[in-house]
Symmetry: C2
Subunit: 658 residues, 2 copies
């Protein structure tokens, strides 16, 4: 039976949310009102969490996939003592506040992942549950379940409609993620009205088809029923569970059941009516009874104790398994290695495709950095992304470190984000560069959260050849380069590929590696200096060259050849390799000037992709040899020639600049 104080706590979540949204004159009250009992059931009764230590490794995770309901999270944060003050709640959605419009990872305590773009959160939660399952398999020993927590998620009708949630949920079923428990806040209302206009499927049956346990709760206000359903979810050790909870959007307000309660303040009168309906003083705002705080504090005492028990468990673990303990601490707390002085990591002897070089780098990296974990969206053999000797992660073999995402690029990116924020792992994933279009919102969330997820993106140009324009990236490099916090590497050879990895794993933000299908020459002079993003690969004879040739990836060697042709004509060219514009921009002005002296205006950029973005380096007086149209289906060599990617054409265009 629900206690009166529990009901008060639930109502406090509701009134704090409504008050903060009202004060901000902006926000989403509908879900906080409807889903407050479900979320209370988790934080108050079921979750093992320690608000004083929100970063406790073994806490249960909670993901608010319906990120617009941020006030739900902030109210819980405040009530359970995670640190948000009443003043913070009053600053909801204001400049510099701890309570932004959507939950932001790294900004507000207890926010496990940045949500808002629908469907991402549940896919993050799948990633967290995968991380938990793998780490448990790696670290747990008899009597020492050091990694042992649940991942909870709240999603709404919007998340349910997004394809990314379908991808992630199908994979979660396949992988038997039994410690993933997803609440579906089913209020049957979306912004355009009754979900009947766009969603008539039997979602429960769909999740059963994915191999999930589905538990239905008829009344979203029935805390005991929700509680029992969570128990049933926990009792299933084979399947993830979906709790389909029937709720009312904007519950207890005059806008209950109406789409108008979704994304706008209720209005002062409606907030008063809400409070009256809840039996709360309508004249008080931002008001919580002490009894509620006290009760919440008592609730979290269980979690504090669980944390203490875990600390003791870790002490015993350290004694019983000192090496494993060290490894655990390294995985969860250590930094990514500095490979810049690691000669073996950079050692390559022969011409090779950069996708092959990437495969070698991954293997070398995994040997030095065991917590690397990832896989491909069903293109491992093309992406060279499978790391031999590390097994396959599956329902039956969670200790394996190679992931099989299936043809699910979107979920792949979001799962990597989830694995990364979970802690203990460094995530990578792989597909063709052209399909980075499917990853884009996931990469963006890596960037927003500054997560160093590695995106291994092979088949980086018309070098794809016969598969044709649907498979040949043109604008994908620009799409990543233009994204804040993200870095796009397009290495010119194997050594530059190693430099890309060395830089990428230590960045704060995602790195996308654009890698060739075709063999590229190992270039004399290439190497670690590529970690500066751009550098002089072959210099001019004079201090100031007649012309600067800039390129990335497969076009760098063309420029080296063109430099010889130009030399024969008495023109002194410098070749600048630019594998990563973002890292180049981070260098100091003196270095940048030393590579690209402002006085030299004859500059030619060469890249088998859109010219968009290159004028930052070639200016109004320079030129580009790029592809501002789609590719074609033909052998790669034919395409490079037909589209002007020849040393002769580079030399001719360079001459035309003089």
């Amino acid at each position: 039976m629900i206690k009166p104080v529990e009901q008060k706590l639930i109502n406090s979540i509701r009134t704090l949310s409504a008050d903060a949204i009202e004060k901000a004159k902006s926000g989403h009250p509908g879900t906080p009102l409807g889903a407050a009992p479900a979320v209370y059931t988790l934080f108050g009764r079921q979750m093992r969490h320690d608000p004083a230590n929100p970063a406790w490794h073994n806490r249960d995770r909670f993901v608010l996939s319906a990120g617009h309901a941020s006030m739900l999270l902030y109210s819980v944060n405040h009530l359970f003592g995670y640190g948000l003050t009443m003043e913070d709640l009053k600053q909801f959605r204001q400049w510099g506040s701890k309570t932004p419009g959507h939950p932001e990872y790294g900004h507000t305590p207890m926010v496990e992942t940045t949500t808002g773009p629908l469907g991402q959160g549940i896919a993050n939660a799948v990633g967290m549950a995968m991380a938990e399952k793998h780490l448990a398999a790696v670290f747990n020993r008899d009597g020492f379940p050091v990694v042992d927590h649940y991942t909870y998620c709240l999603m709404g009708d919007g998340c349910v409609m997004e394809g990314i949630s379908a991808e992630a949920s199908s994979l979660a079923g396949t992988l038997g993620l039994s410690k993933l428990i997803v609440f579906y806040d089913c209020n049957k209302i979306s912004i355009e009205g009754d979900t009947d206009i766009a969603l008539r499927e039997d979602t429960a049956a769909r999740y059963r088809a994915y191999g999930w346990q589905v538990l239905e709760v008829e009344d979203g206000n029935d805390v005991d029923a929700i509680d029992r359903a969570v128990e049933a979810a926990k009792a299933d050790d084979k399947r993830p569970s979906l709790l389909l909870i029937h709720t009312k959007i904007g519950a207890f307000s005059p806008k209950e059941g109406s789409a108008s309660s979704h994304g706008a303040p209720l209005g002062a009168e409606a907030v008063k009516a809400l409070k009256q309906n809840l039996g709360v003083d309508p004249e008080k705002s931002f008001s919580v009874e002490q009894e509620v705080y006290d009760f919440a504090a008592a609730c979290v005492e269980k979690g504090r104790l669980a944390h203490r028990v875990w600390d003791q468990l870790m002490e015993g673990y350290q004694e019983a398994y000192p090496e494993l303990y060290s490894k655990y601490m390294e995985w969860f707390e250590g930094e990514a290695p500095d490979l810049s002085q690691d000669e073996d990591f950079f050692a390559f002897e022969k011409d090779d495709s950069t996708r092959n070089a990437s495969g070698q780098c991954l293997a070398r990296l995994a040997a030095r950095y065991e917590r690397l974990m990832g896989g491909s969206a069903d293109l491992a053999s093309s992406n060279m992304s499978y790391i031999k000797g590390r097994g396959d992660f599956s329902a039956e073999t969670p200790e394996g470190a190679n992931l099989h995402f299936g043809v699910r690029e979107q979920a792949m990116a979001a799962i990597c984000n989830g694995m990364q924020v979970h802690g203990g792992l460094h995530a990578y994933c792989a597909t063709f560069l052209v399909f980075s279009d499917y990853l884009k919102h996931g990469i963006r969330l890596s960037a927003l959260m500054k997560l160093p997820v590695l995106y291994v993106l092979t088949h980086d140009s018309i070098g794809v050849g016969e598969d044709g324009p649907t498979h040949q990236p043109i604008e994908q490099l620009a799409a990543v380069r233009s994204m804040p916090n993200a870095a796009l590497f397009r290495p010119a050879d194997s050594r530059e590929t190693a430099a890309a990895y060395a830089a990428a794993i230590r960045r704060q933000g995602p790195s996308c590696l654009a890698l060739s299908r075709q063999t590229l020459p190992l270039l004399p002079g290439s190497g670690k200096q590529a970690m500066k993003g751009g550098y002089v690969l072959v210099d001019s004879e004079k201090a100031l060259p007649d012309v600067i040739l800039l390129a990335s990836g497969s076009e760098v060697s063309l420029c080296v050849q063109a430099r010889e042709l130009l030399k024969a004509k008495g023109v002194d060219a410098r070749v600048v390799s630019m594998p990563c514009m973002e890292l180049f921009e981070e260098q100091d002005e003196a270095y940048k000037q030393s590579v690209l002296p402002k006085a030299v205006r004859a500059r030619l950029a060469v890249e088998a992709a859109t010219s968009f973005g290159w004028h930052k380096y070639v200016g109004l007086d320079g030129d580009t040899i790029c592809l501002d149209h789609f590719g074609a289906s033909a052998p790669a060599g034919k395409l490079f020639e037909a589209f002007g990617f020849t040393a002769e054409n580079v030399a001719d265009k360079a001459l035309a600049l003089l």
Copy 2:
């Protein structure tokens, strides 16, 4: 019972496919071998098609969602007389051929849509079936079923895993698209091996949950069973049908059942073995018995007759419903209207947000261009994309023209592509600009196919305000601008919004309209000239200005204000409004020079988005006021100020250039 000649035809599909892939030394034989009987059943027995007139409006459509199986389509094309010659098949995947690696719309007869990126094709097919259902409701009259065809689609395990197919399929069930019949070529093999590693769901149950009829065919070689299943699919007039057909990848070759048959030629020996297994002379290549051609010709005779019957039906229709007939012909054959001289279309009186202006433009456009059809991914009231008085398209009201896509951005784009290639409609769709990330691969396919789909993308900057960085686009403008064939419009006021629409509907390629949430001033001097992409909004007093201020959208008025501040300091500035870089680039050199004279190097670009791409216009000597970082959650006005988007800052930065 299958006739021997039918089996021969099926085997011809197989051997032609294997031979062409072998000759190309590249391609995907697995699916053509496994799915040949299913595809034969359609083209030979079930489909109403007239190869001599592949553009016949009322033909049954066939979409090869598994686009990598292109040789399946090309073989069928050749055998049924769509025009591909044996020489074309021999040129598979070669430069300039009619038979590229993946099927390309507009390039090869009978290719209904460009496929290759998995999951897109089935979503296109959903769009075609929606178009058919709507057009039937608009045009059909008792005794005159002038729009009345099926849409068939073949998808594989890859398409089944992609989230976009889930989105589209859920919507198809909701809309009761009973004339959509999808073949699921279920061979349980994907590139990384047995699909069991990533896909253990019960796909049949999942489709039943979507509200589909699911029919299972145990043996993919059993043409009669497939034929019966298609009949059962046709008999259901309430639900779309999924035919789950169990096939073997690489059937009858030595690589049958192996992932190795998916994406690489079988090898000469295996092709011989395949032919032996099929009872065909292993020494012959590209060989088809005359009997097979004759039989295929007899098959299509049915379709030719059906086409003739339809022509007669249309004659009767023209007589009985002359106005409706004219409308039909206009919708299917007419061009988009030229609005450039339509003063009413451009008439606006007051300051307004460009999203509101867009709403007015859509309504004005719909009045002038009835076949406009579209909707939003559950943001209609924010996107201003609902056109009043036109009803809602649903299972029960197919005559309605407002679509409710649900929160399914990916499928929305692909459905619009499908509606557009179907013919008879001009498609638009809407969401927030930041969620163009979810649309990106769909926009790319619009661009590849040169389809004039309109993407209405509101909330175009930090002007979003309180919803914060997850909802504030930064790099999305660059992502579209860098895409070939696509155009990005960011109008500065209501008149420029009208100009964007006027230009967009007549383009060959998609147009993305980035529209403000907030009110923008109606600018003196704005108007139709915006159709040139960039133009002088407020000129300098001298022929050559001291400084050029360039901007788009909400930042244009800042530049107009800054010009006044500069004037007070004796600096003569020109303000260039640049609503569409792509259209500006299409102008002749003289015009471009007249707007941006090369001699003027003091240039400042102002846009509340990434600076990436603007250096094409400001060069090495100019500057930008842009946002090369993510936004924040706060009221919009605060954000513009905090991030330097003030007239004062524009003036200061401009002065610094001098």
